[in-house]
Amino acid sequence: MPEETRVAVLGAGMHEWGKWGRPFVEYGLAAARDAMADAGLGWRDVQFVSGADTIRNGYPGFVSGATFAQALGWTGARVSSVYAACASGAVAIANARAQILAGLCDVALVVGADTTPKGFFAPVGGDRKDDPDWLRFHLLGATNPTYFALYARRRMDRFGATEEDFAQVKVKNARHGLANPRARYRKEVTVEEVLASPMVADPLRLLEICATSDGGAALVLSSIEFARRHHGGSPPVTIDAVSTVTPAFPNTVIEMPNFATDSAVVSGAAAVGFRPSITAAAYAEAGIGPDDVDLAEVYDLSSALELDWYEDIGLCGEGEAEKLLRDGATALGGRVPVNPSGGLSCFGEAIPAQAIAQVCECVWQLRGSASGRQVEGARVAVTANQGLFGHGSSVLLSR
């Protein structure tokens, strides 16, 4: 792998996920201090702060990089604040990585944190008839689970997925998250319990749809050169690729929050769909393939969506995800464990922190320090995620 595309992960830190309603800055600060302590570096060593924004916490949320920098105490560090919906964390990582690879800084801090309201995610307030995210609630009553359910139903129709398959994903992830001290939900569930939980958006039930959570996650990244000097030779975990791709026209899968897909009348459907293109770009950048992957953290907004990701990140062919699940390949101890952290199923979603938290888990797995949920001998890990309005997000790590 060409060294110039890699950056080192010196520190990973998280505030545990939950629902407290305290200021998001508090969670971000705790995660940042955790990550800096893990890196053995102080706040004054950080030259660049990359914040992942939240849109539900007022102005400080829109300028999160500066908000976190001010909370840590102004030092004159350079700053960036980005919003890319669920992919915000990955874009914040991409910005920090680009600064490091360009030689503009040696040490960067990436932080994302959120405080979320109860219940369904609703659009930001006000009467906004030109905003598709507002209009889909107003005209269709289409919540986020509506879209997850459309994908789930299609899997059932095309590939014979069953409600029990979806429930098994939840059972697996609940088991994975049991020993994770940062997970919000640490409780085993049975298939029967999942199938007895209330239907929200047919065929998805309450226990299969990820909650909204408070939480914070942070990373300290550095140049390989700095890591060598700092660590005295022991090779740390590296980020080898970051994908932040947009879809290729025409995107023929209905995407949240849209009313319609692109029209394929002129050029026919794109050769590669949006979700498969996300990790494909990361694999290509790192010069490896899905067969090299030892574990994956994917965005299980619903239990059924995790099955889509198996195919989209290349762990199996189209229509083969149910078999992979049933064979136990994606459970701890299997060929390629998926969501060893417990996933969104055990965390709930803290939007700007989530893609960063996925990377934190990969770092701990690759270091061999994921106590109680360790993927033995893991050397390569990949994350996959998708943000509203066409934001792909995938980070590839190795040791």
Binding site: G119, F120, A122, P123, D127, K129, W134, L135, R136, F137, H138, L139, L140, G141, A142, T143, T146, A149, L150, Y151, A152, R153, R154, D157, R158, P198, M199, V200, A201, D202, P203, L204, F249, P250, T252, I254, F259, A260, T261, D262, S263, A264, V265, V266, S267
Partner: protein
């Protein structure tokens, strides 16, 4: 005079409400250069990356299509959805339009449950009340399943 409600589209310019001579239809756009369709209608720029056109024609989209996928809303969606009181669950379908090669979402008419739907089923567009406020019915497009064609034996004669 009865208190007949005024009927107003819940969003301007997205669909026609139909009259005696014309069935209602979604209003999309077709690019005058490359022919790409869009819904809701584009007015600014063509989505085709190989087309720089900013000239569009407003067109009525196909009134019939086939279900790409479907679900329902068992819990009342949050505002700005205006729910009936008491809340009645409804179905939502994503429908593939063959001529335009795009998929459009819409609520399914009242009285239909997910058990009545399958991927691939044919549906047609109707205009129906989305919510009622004071003396006004706010309208939206909805999908209605088309009854399967009953072929009478010996029809060919």
């Amino acid at each position: 005079m009865g208190a007949e409600a005024i009927r107003v589209p819940a969003v301007e310019g997205w669909f026609t409400t139909g009259d005696g001579a014309h069935a209602p239809a979604l209003l999309g756009s077709r690019c005058n250069e490359c022919g790409t369709f869009a819904f809701p209608a584009e007015s600014g720029y063509c989505r085709n990356p190989d087309c720089e056109s900013s000239s569009f024609e407003t067109v009525e989209l196909s009134r019939r299509g086939r279900i790409w996928s479907y679900t329902d809303a068992r819990y009342q969606p949050p505002p700005p959805y205006v729910a009936a009181d008491p809340y009645e669950p409804f179905c939502i379908a994503a429908v593939e339009l063959d001529a335009e090669k795009l998929v459009v979402m819409g609520q399914v008419v009242d009285g239909v449950t997910v058990d009545d739907l399958s991927v691939g089923d044919e549906v047609e567009l109707v205009v129906d009340t989305l919510y009622h406020e004071d003396t006004t019915d706010y309208l939206v497009w909805k999908w209605r399943p088309v009854n399967r064609l009953v072929v009478t034996p010996g029809w060919e004669g």
